[in-house]
Structure formats: structure tokens, C-alpha cells
């Protein structure tokens, strides 16, 4: 009887229509574009550009440095250091071997990473004239006050007064200042560091020599020896302890999962509340079953989540590749990440959509979302202890408690040099996916009743009751 030209559709066709609307009205909007794409890109861009900007703005150091050096050793040595090393010391107290690695990386890497490293290795233009005096007022040397006046009038860029006993290690206390540096108020901190480090190094070398130790011997003992740490598991496995860079990988995986899951889950919460408060829900339920609506919404936002994941994850992998650190991520890490991401998304999405269906506005949602959020902040709170001890009791127990378990498990599997036992991974996947389907069932039952309810928000007890009514 119907005159409408309709097409015969499967359950999934209607669900797909709902999914596409959900995706389109989240991902293909200006708000999403700015929030999820432009802002992170801006941060990345700023991070990328800052070194270049610093390089351009690095001020040259030009002028006269006056030194009153009664020891006769320090000024010449400092001048030599500045003339030969420039301001490479601005990398701070970086060990020489690290500096060497950076230089090698700058020379060997292509692309943005090398550009950043090269840009960070800024070297100021140095054009200094030295006035070195042994003692004030002797042999035509000006007085200290006269030199300070020169400094004030801008004729000097720095005045250095070396302690007469500064070069003698036995005549000075270890923490006694061996010299004083005077600079004008307009002096750049970078220039102060340049001059200060050169004179400190020269003073240190002079003190070492005063003890009868050669520079080479001193260098041998100056570096603190580093211990190599190994872990021996009860099963006899032996693995080198992870280093600092490696510690960031599990955190990266977990935060990536957290951000992608929560952005979409939060959208689900707000869009469900919007549909309910705008009274669109009943119109939708006249066209689709609650299950189709629920599935459509969750799958639509899943697509949003996956897009964010690909975008951010891709950028992270590209960054690691540019820095030649992509070996820190293995294929099995990526496969497990995908499996735990699916688990995490559907668990959290179901929770959020169930809560959204049960309330009338965001304020009401807070009281129901609060306990869920506490559960989900636990992985973030436990990040460090779990990364340090990925096979410890805390980590093992936490990795079996939904809904935070996928976050904990991805921390563990990517953090442990000593692998997580395979049985634990399999058990967590079986138990986790079981819990996920259980939560989907429970969330669907609550959604089915909640979307038609108006009035005061339900108590957790009422929510459970909804789940089991006919």
C-alpha cells in the first residue's frame, strides 16, 4: 500500500545510518577539527619552531672582558676555552659522550628531528677583547672601582675578579668561590653562563693541577661509574633493566588509549543527553530499535576514536622513526594495543551511554559518572609504580579489574623487559572481553529503559533494577 520508494534493509543498514550521523556530527565539525587537529598541531608546530626562533634571536656577545687575575693562570685558560669551545657548554652539564651523540645525530639524521637538534645547538657569535691584569693599580692596571665604572658605562661586557688563592686546591675550601663575575644589568643570562662556565672550568683545572693530578687522570675519575642492573625472574629469565626513554613508551600507549577512548565516550555521554533533553529520542525510537540506536551511536563514535588514534598514534610513530627510536615499539605491542583499545572503548562507551540515557542533563550525569571516573583515573595514578614493577602483585591484580584493566595491561605489556606471562595476557583478554560483553548487555538494558524516563535521575540501585525489568 505504501507509495514510498523504500529499500529493504538489514539490521545493520539502519544502524549504519545512525553511526554515520553520530560520526558526522562529531568528527566533521569545526569544533572537532580545532580541538582534535588544529590545537595539537599548533602545539607540535610551536615545539618544532621554537628552536629556530631561539636560534634567530640568540644575541651576539661582543665587547671587552676585564680580568683581574693574581694567579696568572685562570684568565688565559678561560680565554682559551671560550675561543675553542664557544658556547657548546650551554647544553648544561651534559656529559661529553651525550654531546657527542647529539653531534652525531645532527650530522646523520635527516628531516625535522635533525633540524630541531641542529637548531637547538645554537652558538652565539663571539667577538671578545680581553684585558687581563695581575693586580689592581700595579703596572698601569686600573683600580677595581675604575673597572666597575667602565662596566657601568658600557665599555666592558664583564669584569672578573679571581681569588688570589683560587687556583690552589689546598688553600681554598671546596665550596669557596674562586672568583667573582660582574656584569651590567642588560647582560644576557646566556652570556653570563658562557663566561661563568669558562672561568669555573679553568679554575677547576688549575686546582686539579695544583694537586699534582693530570687532566687526563682527572677525567678518568670525574665520571661516576654506572651500574648495570639486571632482573632475574623466578623462572630464571634475565633482562636488562629498562632505561628512561623506554619508560615513556608505556605511558605513551596508555595516555593515547585514554585520550582517544575518553574523547569519544564523552561525546557519547553528551550526545545521548542532548537527544534525550531535546526529545529527539522518541522520534529515533520510532524509526529504530533501542539496540540499533545504541549500536549506531557506539559504532559511530568508535570511528571517531579510531581516527584520533590513527592521527595521534601515527604522529607519535613518525616522531619515533625520525629519532631512530622506532625499535622501542614491537608489532606484538601494536596488536595487543589494538585488542585492549577495543576492550577499553566498548567498556567506557557503554558506561557513558548508559549514564547518558538515565539522566536529563550533564549536571545530573556528574553524580553517576563520578564513581566511574575514579575507577578510570586509577591507571593514571598507578602509571609509575606499574611501569617500575610491571609484574608485581599490584599490577597483576589491577590488570584484571574492569573497566581500568585494558589501560593497566597495556602499561604492563609495553613496560616489562621481563615479559608479562602469556597466560596472564590470554586470561586478561578472555576475562576482559567477557566483561566487555557483560557491560554491553547491562548498558543496553539500562539504555532501553533510561531513554524513555524523565524526572529525577535514578540511583545506582534503580539503574540495576532497570537492567532486569522486562
Amino acid at each position: 500500500m505504501s507509495n514510498a520508494k523504500t529499500v529493504r534493509r538489514s539490521w545493520w543498514s539502519r544502524t549504519g545510518t545512525i553511526s554515520w550521523r553520530e560520526f558526522k556530527h562529531t568528527a566533521l565539525t569545526k569544533a572537532f577539527f580545532f580541538g582534535a587537529v588544529v590545537v595539537p598541531m599548533l602545539f607540535l608546530g610551536v615545539g618544532f619552531l621554537v628552536p629556530f626562533m631561539i636560534d634567530k634571536n640568540a644575541p651576539p656577545i661582543k665587547g671587552t672582558v676585564a680580568v683581574l687575575d693574581p694567579t696568572g693562570k685562570i684568565a688565559a685558560a678561560a680565554q682559551h676555552i671560550i675561543d675553542t669551545e664557544g658556547d657548546t657548554g650551554l647544553f648544561g652539564d651534559m656529559p661529553a659522550e651525550t654531546q657527542e651523540k647529539i653531534d652525531t645525530a645532527v650530522a646523520s639524521q635527516g628531516g625535522g628531528a635533525s633540524a630541531m637538534l641542529a637548531a637547538a645547538d645554537t652558538r652565539s657569535e663571539i667577538d671578545l677583547t680581553w684585558e687581563i691584569y695581575a693586580q689592581e693599580g700595579v703596572d698601569g692596571a686600573p683600580s677595581i672601582d675604575a673597572l666597575k665604572d667602565e662596566l657601568k658605562s658600557g665599555n666592558l661586557v664583564a669584569l672578573i675578579l679571581v681569588n688570589p688563592n683560587g687556583a690552589d686546591a689546598k688553600a681554598t675550601a671546596p665550596n669557596e668561590a674562586g672568583l667573582s663575575i660582574f656584569v651590567p644589568t642588560s647582560s644576557s643570562p646566556k652570556h653570563q653562563r658562557l663566561i661563568g662556565r669558562a672561568f669555573e672550568t679553568a679554575l677547576q683545572d688549575a686546582r686539579v693541577q695544583s694537586l699534582g693530578i693530570t687532566d687526563a687522570d682527572f677525567d678518568r675519575v670525574r665520571q661516576r661509574p654506572q651500574a648495570e642492573t639486571f632482573r632475574i625472574s623466578p623462572t630464571g629469565g634475565e633482562a636488562e633493566e629498562i632505561n628512561g626513554a623506554r619508560m615513556l613508551i608505556p605511558a605513551g600507549f596508555m595516555f593515547l588509549m585514554w585520550i582517544c577512548v575518553f574523547t569519544s565516550a564523552n561525546q557519547l555521554l553528551t550526545s545521548t543527553i542532548e537527544e534525550k533533553s531535546n526529545k529527539v529520542m522518541e522520534v529515533l525510537l520510532a524509526a529504530a530499535s533501542p539496540m540499533q540506536l545504541l549500536a549506531g551511536k557506539i559504532l559511530g563514535q568508535a570511528l571517531v576514536s579510531v581516527i584520533m588514534l590513527v592521527m595521534y598514534g601515527g604522529a607519535a610513530i613518525a616522531g619515533l622513526t625520525a629519532a631512530s627510536m622506532n625499535d622501542l615499539i614491537t608489532t606484538s605491542d601494536l596488536i595487543l594495543f589494538a585488542l585492549y583499545f577495543i576492550m577499553a572503548y566498548f567498556m567506557i562507551a557503554t558506561l557513558m551511554v548508559a549514564v547518558g540515557s538515565a539522566v536529563s542533563d550533564l549536571r545530573e550525569a556528574q553524580s553517576l559518572v563520578g564513581p566511574v571516573m575514579i575507577l578510570l583515573i586509577i591507571p593514571i595514578m598507578l602509571w609509575l609504580p606499574i611501569s617500575e614493577s610491571p609484574n608485581g602483585m599490584l599490577a597483576t591484580i589491577a590488570s584484571f579489574v574492569p573497566p581500568g584493566m585494558p589501560f593497566i595491561m597495556i602499561l604492563r605489556v609495553t613496560a616489562a623487559n621481563e615479559p608479562v606471562p602469556m597466560w596472564q595476557i590470554i586470561a586478561s583478554l578472555v576475562w576482559g572481553y567477557g566483561a566487555m560483553f557483560g557491560m554491553l548487555w547491562l548498558g543496553a538494558r539500562i539504555f532501553r529503559v533510561g531513554v524513555l524516563m524523565q524526572g529525577k535521575p535514578p540511583t545506582p540501585k534503580e539503574l540495576l533494577k532497570w537492567a532486569f525489568v522486562r
Partner: protein, 316 residues
């Protein structure tokens, strides 16, 4: 003729409230049925069960020969609670609903524009829903129930919030849909609209069906034996004359200058008209017919004020 809707003793309870109690109904295809009842009578609950949005606790329910879930694409539904996506454009919203209802995308944009023209909303397809007035939004929502040319149209309070011109427009649309062959069931508080439109009325009160009849049967059953006279002179004097003439068992003048007369037993229609003209000079004489509103008040037992209550307690 096959049945569009078949309800057999359906019941629904929410906690301690019996929202619908053993309601039965058989509505043939092509009918136009008014669904009447005071606020909280159970109309919206019955409609939601018809739409399979909620399930009855007991009873049998068939819509278009099966479950409403299986026939969603053949049903158009305007819920009592109006709702649109505020930020969505009108054309996009109608497209979305049409797609959900299984309308093929080919020619859909043109169909949407044609419908918008028809309800005097030309050019609003590109506007966001939030930019429309309440009446315009209501017409858009009605279109979302009609866009797929349904076989069964369920309208919950379609006239609520509309001005007389738009009410007339909606009435024309409903009549057109019936002429097209659609079965229509609509709930309303506007008795005169139901009286003018429907060929069948269903009245429920406190969850129970209290009336299910064709309008003609209803009139035959409930019409009082009376006439209404507009006398040329003083109404009270005419009322006294009518009583004195012996054909009136009771005669009362009204504030509108009319005289309502209840005939004595055994007095027929023609005899009454002749007697009325003989009793005094008249501008008009007509047989008094019981209005649907009178029937409603009589059966529901409430005050007439209930009929005009707007948006009091929500229907369960």
C-alpha cells in the same frame, strides 16, 4: 477489510500505577480514529506500545499484521514530546529520518523540498532547527512522520501549540493522507477537531477503554431529545410560552439569547418544530445534538476545565 491495528486486552503497569488496563481495539485499514482521554489517561502509553517503544505487560498487539518493530518503516509517528536536533539543518534532519525509515536517497532532496513547500516552509531546508519558531518546528516534525508516505500514521497531539491557520493546514494534511489510503490514529484534547475529522473515536480514562464507536453511532446513542430556538423576542418569555404550549418538558434560556428545550415523551421531530414556531416568533430552530465534548465530560465524569488543561501532568 484487513485490520491496521489490533489490540487484545493489553495492559501496562508502571510501579503502582496501572497506566493501561485491558484495552482492546480493532481498527480497519483506511480508518481515521480519534484517540481521546483526559491527561494521564494512558493515551501516550498505548501509543508507545503501538510503536513497540515499550512492551505491554500482557495482551496481544498487532500493527499492520505484525509487530511494529518489523513494520517501523511503514509507520509514521509524531510523539507528544516534540524534538529536533537543535543544531541540525532542517533538510538534513528530514533526510536522516527518511533514511532511517528506508526511503531511497534518489529524489529525496526534491521530496523534502516539496513537502516543505506544502506546509508553507519554503527555503527552510538550509536553516538550523533552532532558528525556527515553535509552530514551524512542529510542522517539520510532522513532516518527519510523513516523509516516507507511511501506511499507518500515529499522531500524538498533532494540534498542540498550533495557531488556527496551521491547525487547518494540519487537518488538510491528515485528510490527504487518509485519502491516499493511510490509516490514521491521533490523540487530541480538541474535541471539535476530532468531531470534524474522525469517523471513529476511542476514549480511555484511567487506563480503561470507556468508549469505542463510530461517530454516527455515538450520536444516535447519545443525542438528547431536544431542540434549540433563537427567539425573536425575550428568551425567558419564549421559554415560558414553550412550557405552556405543552411540548416542552423543560425549557431554559441561555446567556447567548437561546432557549434549550427538552421535548416531552412522544413528541416527534416535525411536531416539535411546528410547536416551536407556534410558540412565538423565532429567528432559528434546530435539533439539539450532543457534542463530543458533552460525551467526553459525561463519560469521563470530570469538569470541562480538564479538556482545556494544557500540559498539566504528563501522560504516562
Amino acid at each position: 477489510m484487513s485490520l491496521a491495528i489490533q489490540l487484545e486486552n493489553i495492559s501496562k503497569r508502571f510501579g503502582s500505577v496501572q497506566a493501561v488496563d485491558e484495552v482492546s481495539l480493532e481498527l480497519p485499514e483506511g480508518s481515521l480514529c480519534g484517540f481521546l482521554g483526559p491527561n494521564g489517561a494512558g493515551k501516550s502509553t498505548t501509543i508507545r506500545m503501538l510503536m513497540s517503544i515499550i512492551s505491554p505487560d500482557s495482551g496481544v498487539l498487532r500493527v499492520l499484521g505484525g509487530s511494529a518493530l518489523d513494520n517501523k518503516d511503514r509507520i509514521g509517528y509524531l510523539p507528544e514530546e516534540r524534538g529536533l536536533y537543535r543544531k541540525m539543518k532542517v533538510g538534513e534532519f528530514l533526510w536522516y529520518i527518511a533514511k532511517l525509515k528506508g526511503v531511497h536517497p534518489t529524489g529525496l532532496t526534491q521530496r523534502i523540498n516539496d513537502w516543505l513547500d506544502r506546509v508553507q516552509l519554503p527555503g527552510v531546508a538550509k536553516k538550523r532547527c533552532e532558528e525556527l519558531s515553535k509552530g514551524m518546528q512542529q510542522k517539520v516534525q510532522l513532516l518527519s512522520a510523513l516523509i516516507h508516505r507511511p501506511d499507518l500514521l500515529i499522531l500524538d497531539e498533532p494540534y498542540s501549540g498550533l495557531d488556527p491557520l496551521n491547525s487547518r493546514l494540519i487537518t488538510e494534511l491528515i485528510r490527504d493522507e487518509q485519502r491516499r489510503g493511510a490509516t490514521i490514529i491521533f490523540s487530541t484534547h480538541q474535541m471539535h477537531t476530532a468531531e470534524a475529522l474522525c469517523d471513529r473515536v476511542l476514549l480511555i480514562n484511567k487506563g480503561k477503554k470507556v468508549l469505542d464507536a463510530n461517530l454516527s453511532q455515538l450520536r444516535a446513542q447519545h443525542d438528547g431529545r431536544g431542540i434549540v430556538v433563537e427567539p425573536a423576542g425575550d428568551p425567558q418569555a419564549y421559554a415560558d410560552a414553550a412550557l405552556a404550549a405543552g411540548f416542552a418538558a423543560r425549557a431554559e434560556s441561555t446567556h447567548k439569547g437561546l432557549v434549550e428545550i427538552e421535548l416531552r415523551d412522544g413528541i416527534g421531530g416535525n411536531e416539535a418544530l411546528n410547536a416551536a414556531l407556534a410558540a412565538g416568533a423565532c429567528r432559528a430552530v434546530s435539533l439539539r445534538r450532543l457534542s463530543l465534548e458533552d460525551v467526553f465530560v459525561q463519560l469521563v465524569g470530570g469538569s470541562r476545565a480538564d479538556l482545556h488543561a494544557d500540559g498539566g501532568a504528563a501522560d504516562v
